[in-house]
């Protein structure tokens, strides 16, 4: 991110700068404290979880114990399948719909767009009772598609891509059509490549949202074969483990590790994506 805080008449200097930095660092430390505490607990034996000593021996036992106590490998696989299924379908459906809204004139387009935007207010998270009934009438309860389906047609994705497609110059579109390309070819060769940063932003937001989503998967799954990580972690922490906090912390870190690593590696993209996705 290009930060333009440097210079300027109100940039803090001297003692002010030291004070401000100290305050910012203090808050940062406070913000990281719960995570550091979990890290400490996860990497030390249970007796040490409440006593802090720099030379305490580090152990991976808690992770091994957590991994062995619940089918986390299966949960990882389920979550991976879930987020890929959702993202894949979202990208296709939202691209097609956004293209229709951005570049086609048809009767009822305005009403259709208003109907799409309604989802921003009436979120699938709130319609749990009725969506559960729909899934059971389809015989889909306790499957990964059942978790994915309500989120696949994403109003947010359609809106974001429509904005991106609208900024593509008409002349490019016309030129491609003159050369005889059909609507889908134009979409694929012209619009999709030009909207790449928006796709990246949307993908990051979608993956982290569905990796973290909890209530709907909790309701619609009840077996190891369909449960994503979040639900698996909750089942593990609330029933299987009792109160062995070292093991629970290890499991907690394990389930968030891929997302945390991805965030630390692609920090810039993450922050920019959330920013781009948020500003409407």
């Amino acid at each position: 991110m290009s930060v333009r805080g440097d210079g300027g008449p109100y940039a803090p200097t001297g003692r002010g700068r030291v004070l401000e930095s100290a305050a910012a660092w203090l808050l940062a430390a406070l913000w990281l404290l719960p995570l550091l505490y979990a890290l400490w607990t996860a990497f030390h034996s249970a007796e040490l979880s409440t006593r802090f000593a720099l030379i305490a021996p580090i152990t991976l036992d808690n992770f091994a114990q957590a991994w062995g106590a619940a089918p986390f490998a299966r949960y990882f696989l389920n979550t991976f399948m879930l987020v890929s299924l959702i993202l894949g379908c979202q990208l296709v459906l939202c691209t097609l719909a956004a293209y229709a809204f951005a570049r086609f004139r048809f009767g009822g387009a305005g009403i259709a767009f208003a109907l799409v935007l309604m989802q921003l207010m009436i979120m699938p998270d709130v319609l749990i009772v009725e969506n559960y009934r729909t899934m059971s009438s389809f015989g889909l309860v306790d499957t990964i598609p059942a978790i994915a389906l309500p989120y696949v047609a994403s109003a947010f994705g359609i809106f974001l891509l429509r904005q991106a497609f609208k900024s593509v110059p008409r002349e490019l579109d016309d030129a491609a059509r003159v050369e005889g390309a059909g609507p889908l070819q134009v979409l694929w060769r012209l619009y999709v490549p030009l909207a790449k940063p928006v796709y990246l932003a949307y993908a990051l937001v979608s993956v982290s949202y569905h990796w973290n989503n909890f209530l709907w998967p909790l309701i619609v799954t009840n077996s190891v074969e369909a449960r994503p990580l979040t639900v698996g972690l909750q089942v593990f922490a609330s029933t299987d483990q009792g109160i062995d906090w070292s093991v629970i912390c290890a499991a907690t870190l394990m389930t968030s590790a891929p997302l945390l690593l991805a965030f630390l590696l692609f920090q810039r993209q993450f922050v920019q994506s959330f920013m781009r996705a948020g500003i409407r």
């Binding site: 008449p9 719960p34 387009a109 979120m123 709130v126 972690l233």
Partner: protein, 292 residues
């Protein structure tokens, strides 16, 4: 003319898959929820019957509903102003030339990307009586043990702290983006006029950040009224319904007591609340703020 109708057919065909799924999983369930709320829940040997407004009358007479509504209000009032103020402060600090800016920004933003389920478990441990970090620090200071999540007086505050911690960094990035869009000549002009930094913030930066503040505010309100994850992990709505929020109550009624029609009526109340928020957003942003 031919081209026109062809255009329309293509447009609708492109729209069809997304529209079908939206209808199936947003419009239809919303409508069905509304219809359901006028019927009683079907039980074995007692089929659903039309009951008119009975479910809504039951809601008005339901002390748990009122408590969850009040809790949700307290939760919103407790989380939103503090997390927005912190987000603004964080953004100003990270935007200034402080040492280790990148690391500080990372620290603020990290809670946002982690699963709520995971961090709620960490906070649950943090609040644990006797073993948790909070209790250890307090006992060092000579303050006696207290069951933070197990006492009605403190449980909701504990949940509010978690929400602030999770949300502030997310809102920070919107302020950060907006701060970077304020043209530097404004600061130079203000400095020439001899304005103090506080005056510059109050008279220039803060008004220019108003659209961002409204955007963040609306998001924060919507988030506050659909908070449920950390309640399921940390308190199950207890003790004594002290932390029951609206969506948690819907979940409990719908999937623990299986009273689906009553849950449908509760859902309609929540949707009406969210609609009111969106309407307020529309009126406020469209009328008062002229941006871009």
């Amino acid at each position: 003319m031919l081209r026109h109708s062809q255009n329309a057919i293509h447009g609708w065909l492109l729209l069809l898959p997304a529209m079908a799924l939206l209808t199936l999983f947003t419009h239809w369930p919303a409508l069905a929820t509304f219809i359901d709320s006028f019927w009683s829940t079907a039980r074995p040997r007692r089929p659903a019957a039309f009951v008119g407004l009975d479910q809504y009358r039951a809601i008005l007479a339901d002390p748990v509903f009122w408590q969850s509504a009040v809790n949700n209000l307290v939760f919103a009032v407790g989380t939103i102003p503090i997390s927005i103020a912190l987000a603004l402060l964080m953004a100003i600090w990270v935007n200034d030339r402080i040492a280790g800016r990148a690391l500080v920004r990372m620290a603020y933003f990290t809670p946002t990307v982690l699963p709520m389920i995971a961090v709620a478990n960490i906070w649950l441990f943090f609040y644990t009586p006797q073993y948790g970090l909070l209790e250890q620090v307090l006992s060092l200071l000579g303050i006696g043990s207290h069951n933070w999540l197990g006492t009605p007086a403190t449980a909701l505050a504990c949940v509010i702290v978690v929400a602030i911690w999770k949300e502030a960094g997310f809102f920070m990035i919107f302020y950060l983006a907006a701060l970077q869009h304020i043209p530097p000549p404004l600061a130079e002009a203000a400095a020439l006029e001899g304005a103090s930094r506080w005056t510059f913030f109050r008279r220039v930066q803060f008004p220019l950040l108003m659209p961002t503040t409204l955007f963040v505010l609306v998001n924060a309100v919507i988030n506050a009224f659909r908070t449920v994850d950390q309640i399921i992990v940390m308190t199950h709505g207890g003790p004594d319904n002290a932390t029951t929020l609206l969506l948690y109550y819907i979940y409990e009624v719908g999937f623990r007591f299986w009273d689906t029609s009553y849950a449908a009526a509760l859902t309609i109340v929540l949707l009406a609340l969210l609609a009111a928020v969106s309407l307020a957003q529309y009126l406020l942003i469209e009328r008062r703020i002229h941006y871009r």
